[in-house]
């Protein structure tokens, strides 16, 4: 059964990748990449069980954390297409 989950995760990753490639626009891509990140967390967890050393779940925790940081960074630094510290619409 665990193989089936692995296959399901890989299919999901491929579909998310498709959405990340075609977009359209920034937000669809962020969404797809966010989803890809959470699936990578699950992938690492499942791979740990599948290949016999499940004690490496620390990596999964780190993935979840870093994925969140990346999404926030993309939002913060692209949202108004202005440098950090700028308010809305203050850029010439």
């Amino acid at each position: 059964m665990i193989y089936a989950v692995m296959a399901a995760l890989l299919v999901t990753m491929a579909l998310a990748l498709f959405r990340a490639f075609v977009g359209p626009g920034l937000y669809n891509r962020i969404l797809a990449i966010n989803m890809f990140g959470t699936k990578a967390v699950l992938f690492v967890a499942v791979a740990g069980f599948l290949f016999g050393r499940p004690e490496f779940l620390d990596i999964g925790i780190l993935y979840a954390l870093v994925n969140f940081v990346a999404v926030i960074a993309v939002l913060r630094l692209t949202h108004h297409d202005g440098p950090i510290g700028d308010g809305e619409g203050e850029r010439a």
């Binding site: 989950v5 626009g25 994925n67 969140f68």
Partner: protein, 104 residues
């Protein structure tokens, strides 16, 4: 095959099903706001069921604890990310799809 193993298999299968469903939704839904729902399914139902299924397979408490931490972390961060994304898109004026519009 013990009861625990069967239960874990069922949970894993359900999780895998939800994950793939969400991914199909991400590809097929017509606009950004509807796609957030699809992603929400994979992050809550899919991830939760898969992690629960894995939890039933462990015998060591350390591994179980880490699975629980991952689950807690995803429960906190993924709705936050989705909420912030939706709000930012709304502020940026990403249009909402109505019946009859072209897909985008």
């Amino acid at each position: 095959m013990t009861v625990i193993e069967v239960l874990s298999g069922v949970l894993l299968a359900a999780g895998g099903f939800f994950v793939v469903t969400g991914a199909v939704g991400l590809v097929r839904f017509p606009d950004f706001y509807t796609r957030i729902h699809a992603v929400g399914v994979t992050d809550s139902a899919g991830a939760g069921l898969i992690l629960l299924g894995l939890l039933l397979r462990t015998t060591e408490w350390e591994v179980g604890l880490r699975l629980l931490i991952i689950m807690l972390f995803m429960v906190i961060t993924s709705p936050t990310a989705a909420h912030t994304l939706a709000q930012a898109a709304r502020r940026d004026g990403v249009p909402v799809w109505r019946a009859g519009d072209a897909r985008r």
